[in-house]
C-alpha cells in the first residue's frame, strides 16, 4: 500500500482482506467438514451393502463360487441401485462374478487393510468403492469346499452421483453466500468508512476554506468526536498562532507603509515644488541639498524597517568583542552625541567597571554602537532640557555584563511602558518630526540584543523618575 493511498481506501482494503480471510477459512472449513460427513455416511451405507451382498455368494458342489441374485436381492442391489457395481474374488484372487468391467488395480489391496474407500471413474461416472473381506459363512457347504474357512473378498462400489451433487450444492451455497456477504459488507464498509471519516472531511473542508482573511475561524472542539478533539485543538492553536503572526505582520506592513508615506510625500512635494518655481541656481542647490536629506531619512527608515521586519531569531554567526573594544564603542558614541546633549544643556557621563584583559562579550561593534546610540539619543530626545545621561558598563555576574543607560528626565509615561519596545511606539504620540524619531529605535535595539543572546529591558530608575535601560550581554570569558 503506497503512502498516498487514502485512509478510507486503506480501511476498506484492510477490512475486505480480513473478511476474505475469515470467510474463506470458515467456508472452506465447513465445506470440508460437510463433505467428510457426507462421505462418511455414504461409506457406512456402502459397507452395509457390501456386507449384505456377501450373503449372496454361494459355493457350488464343485467348490465354485457363484453369486446368486434372487429377485429380492436383485431389487436390493441391482435394480434398485442398479448403478452399484461389485466384484467377488475368491481367496486365490480369481474373480468369481462381477458387474465391474474394469480390473481392480493391484494397489487396491492396500485399501483392504486400511478399509479405506477408493474413488474411481467408469465411463465418466464417478464411483466410490470398498474392497471388503467377508467372513460370511458360505451356504451349500460341500466336502472339500475350497472356500470354506477361507475368505472371499468383495469389491463393492456405489455411484457418488447424488453425493457429488450434494457436495456441489454445498460448495455453490458457500461461494454464493460468502460472495454475497463479502459484497454487502464491503458496501457497508464504504458507508461506514465515509461516515466515520466525515468529521475529518468536514475539518478538511473548513481548513481548506481558511485563508488570510478568515484566519479567525475555529473548530468547535466540543462537537468533534473525542479522538479528533486533540487534532481540532492543535489546529485551533495553530490557527491562533498564525492569526497572531499574520496580524503582527499586517500591522507592521501597514505601519511601515504609513511611516514611509510621509517622508516620500516630503520628497515628492519637494521635487514638485522645486519644479513649479522658475529655475534659480542658488535656490535649486538648496532644494537639492534638502532633497538629499529627505532621501537619507527614507534610507535610514528603510534600513531600520529591514532590521525590525526580520524574525527575531538568533544570529547564526558567532560574534564577540573584547571589553576594551566595547569601551571604545561607548566612548565613540558619547563623542558623537555629546554635542546634541549640550545643545539642550545636558551632559553624558560614562562609568565603566569592566576592565581587565581577556574579558569578552557576545555582541559586535556594529550592534553595540547601534543599541547604545539609540538609547542615548532617546535619553537626550525625551529627557528634557539639562538632561544628564549616565552610561554604566559592568559585569553583573559571571555570565552577564550590563550596559546601563539612564537619565534624570521625566521617565517613560506609564501608558507607553507596555509597548515601549514595539515598532512605531513613540515617546511623543503626535509623532512630531521635529524630534526626528522613527519609532523604531527601541524595537531595533531589542532585536539586536536578542540576536546575540542578550536582553534589553526597561527598569525603574534608582531613586529617580528617569528612564533606565539595561542591556544584558552574554559574557563569554
Amino acid at each position: 500500500m503506497s503512502k498516498r493511498t487514502s485512509l478510507s481506501a486503506r480501511l476498506i482494503l484492510l477490512f475486505v482482506a480480513a473478511e476474505l480471510l475469515l470467510i474463506g477459512v470458515f467456508a472452506t472449513g465447513s465445506f470440508l467438514f460437510s463433505r467428510r460427513r457426507l462421505h462418511k455416511s455414504f461409506d457406512t451405507a456402502l459397507r452395509a451393502h457390501a456386507d449384505a451382498f456377501s450373503t449372496l455368494v454361494r459355493e457350488g458342489k464343485d467348490g465354485t463360487l457363484t453369486v446368486t441374485l434372487t429377485e429380492d436381492s436383485t431389487s436390493r442391489f441391482v435394480r434398485k441401485r442398479h448403478r452399484d457395481v461389485f466384484a467377488v474374488f475368491a481367496a486365490d484372487g480369481a474373480r468369481v462374478d462381477s458387474e465391474l468391467d474394469v480390473e481392480p488395480a493391484p494397489e487396491w489391496a492396500t485399501y483392504v487393510e486400511k478399509r479405506q474407500f477408493r474413488a474411481f471413474t467408469i465411463d465418466g461416472e464417478r464411483y466410490r468403492g470398498i474392497l471388503y473381506p467377508s467372513h460370511a459363512t458360505l451356504e451349500g457347504e460341500a466336502p472339500g469346499n475350497k472356500a470354506k474357512g477361507s475368505r472371499i473378498t468383495i469389491f463393492y462400489a456405489g455411484t457418488t452421483h447424488d453425493l457429488d451433487d450434494d457436495i456441489e450444492d454445498i460448495q455453490e451455497f458457500m461461494l454464493i453466500a460468502g460472495g454475497t456477504i463479502i459484497l454487502l459488507s464491503t458496501l457497508a464498509a464504504f458507508g461506514i468508512t465515509k461516515r466515520v471519516l466525515k468529521p475529518l472531511h468536514d475539518m478538511t473542508n473548513v481548513a481548506g476554506k481558511i485563508d488570510a482573511v478568515s484566519l479567525n475561524r475555529r473548530f468547535v472542539v466540543k462537537r468533534l468526536p473525542s479522538d479528533l478533539q486533540p487534532l481540532g485543538k492543535s489546529f485551533n492553536e495553530l490557527l491562533a498562532r498564525l492569526e497572531g503572526s499574520f496580524d503582527r505582520e499586517r500591522r507592521f506592513s501597514a505601519e511601515a507603509a504609513h511611516e514611509l508615506r510621509t517622508p516620500v510625500a516630503v520628497l515628492k512635494s519637494g521635487i514638485q515644488a522645486a519644479l513649479i518655481t522658475p529655475p534659480d541656481q542658488v535656490r535649486d542647490r538648496e532644494a537639492l541639498q534638502e532633497l538629499l536629506e529627505d532621501v537619507e531619512r527614507i534610507a535610514t527608515l528603510c534600513e531600520s524597517l529591514l532590521i525590525v521586519g526580520k524574525p527575531s531569531s538568533s544570529r547564526a554567526r558567532d560574534v564577540q568583542i573584547s571589553a576594551q573594544d566595547i569601551v571604545e564603542v561607548v566612548m565613540r558614541v558619547v563623542d558623537s552625541l555629546s554635542p546634541s546633549a549640550e545643545r539642550v544643556g545636558g551632559s553624558i557621563r560614562v562609568h565603566t567597571e569592566l576592565d581587565g584583559d581577556g574579558v569578552v562579550l557576545r555582541t559586535d561593534e556594529d550592534s553595540a554602537s547601534r543599541i547604545l546610540t539609540n538609547l542615548v539619543e532617546n535619553a537626550i530626545r525625551y529627557g528634557g532640557d539639562g538632561v544628564e545621561v549616565s552610561i554604566t558598563l559592568r559585569a553583573s555576574d559571571e555570565f552577564e555584563a550590563e550596559l546601563i543607560v539612564e537619565d534624570n528626565g521625566p521617565g517613560i509615561p506609564p501608558e507607553l511602558e507596555q509597548r515601549l519596545f514595539e515598532r512605531f511606539a513613540r515617546g511623543d504620540e503626535s509623532r512630531t518630526r521635529a524630534t526626528g524619531g522613527t519609532g523604531l529605535g527601541l524595537a531595533i535595539s531589542r532585536a539586536l540584543a536578542l540576536a546575540d543572546g542578550g536582553r534589553l529591558v526597561h527598569e525603574k530608575a534608582n531613586g529617580g523618575d528617569g528612564a533606565r535601560f539595561v542591556w544584558r550581554i552574554v559574557l563569554l570569558a
Binding site: H258, A265, K268, S269, Q272, A273, I276, S430, R433
Partner: protein
C-alpha cells in the same frame, strides 16, 4: 485667497506652501501643531484649510469638528498618510470637503484646491466673466475686450478675489484678510494703490469702470456702478 496649512511635518508644509504660492491666486499660512492650527482656523478668515490628521496637541478631526461647530463653511481638504477607505469615509463624514492621501501629487493637490475654491464661491467655471472682462483662473490671464493682461501676483489676486465675489460689496478689511498671509503688515492704503493700478490697466481705451469704490464700505466689482444697479 488665503489658505491655511496645518501640517506637523515642517518640510512638507513648506513644500506645499511653495507649491500653492506658485499660483498667484493664493497666499498660505502654516501651522505646525494642532493647538495653533485649531486657533488659526477658527479665528482667522481663510478660504480653505489643508489639514493633516495626526498632529501634536489637537488632532485633525477635532480641528475639523471645531471648524464646523463654529459654523464656518470654508472648504477643508484632509491631507494625510492615513489613506484607508475607512479613514477617507470618516474624514468626509466629519465634514471635510476633500481627502488626499500621502504621498500626493502636487499638481493634483493644486487642482483640487482650485476646484474647492470655485465650488465654495459657487463659480464652477474656471473662467470668471464680468461684462466684457474674462479672468482665466487656470492660466492667470485677464482679458478685457481684445486686450490681454498678465498682472503682477497681488493685482491678480485682488482682482480674482473681487471677481469671485462680483456684485458684492467687499470691505477693505476683508481684502486685507484674504489677500495677505499673517506675516504682512497690513496698511489699508496698499489696497488703494493696487485698485488704482488695476483700474488703469482695465480701463484702457476708455472702457467703462468695473471696480467701484463705495466710500466707507469698500469695493464692488460690477458692470453697473452702485446705485444704478437693479433694485
Amino acid at each position: 485667497m488665503r489658505i491655511l496649512i496645518v501640517e506637523d511635518e515642517v518640510r512638507l508644509a513648506r513644500n506645499i506652501k511653495k507649491g500653492i504660492e506658485s499660483i498667484p491666486s493664493f497666499v498660505v499660512d502654516v501651522c505646525h501643531d494642532g493647538i495653533d492650527g485649531q486657533h488659526q482656523a477658527i479665528t482667522s478668515s481663510y478660504d480653505l484649510v489643508i489639514l493633516d490628521l495626526m498632529l501634536p496637541g489637537v488632532d485633525g478631526l477635532t480641528i475639523l469638528q471645531s471648524i464646523r461647530a463654529k459654523g464656518l463653511t470654508l472648504p477643508v481638504l484632509i491631507l494625510t498618510a492615513r489613506n484607508t477607505k475607512e479613514d477617507v469615509i470618516r474624514g468626509l463624514d466629519f465634514g471635510s470637503d476633500d481627502y488626499l492621501g500621502k504621498p500626493f501629487d502636487m499638481g493634483e493637490l493644486l487642482a483640487r484646491v482650485k476646484a474647492l475654491i470655485r465650488r465654495s464661491h459657487n463659480r464652477p467655471d474656471p473662467k470668471l466673466r464680468i461684462a466684457d472682462m474674462e479672468i482665466d483662473t487656470h492660466r492667470h490671464i485677464v482679458r478685457r475686450g481684445t486686450r490681454e493682461h498678465v498682472l503682477p501676483a497681488l493685482e491678480y489676486r485682488l482682482l480674482e478675489y473681487l471677481a469671485y465675489r462680483a456684485n458684492e460689496v467687499v470691505s477693505k478689511t476683508d481684502l486685507l484678510e484674504h489677500l495677505y498671509d499673517y506675516n504682512w503688515e497690513k496698511f489699508s492704503n496698499v489696497i488703494e494703490v493696487y485698485v488704482s493700478a488695476l483700474r488703469r490697466k482695465l480701463e484702457m481705451d476708455g472702457a467703462p469702470r468695473l471696480i467701484h469704490t463705495l466710500r466707507g464700505q469698500g469695493y464692488i466689482l460690477s458692470q453697473n456702478p452702485p446705485g444704478e444697479s437693479d433694485p
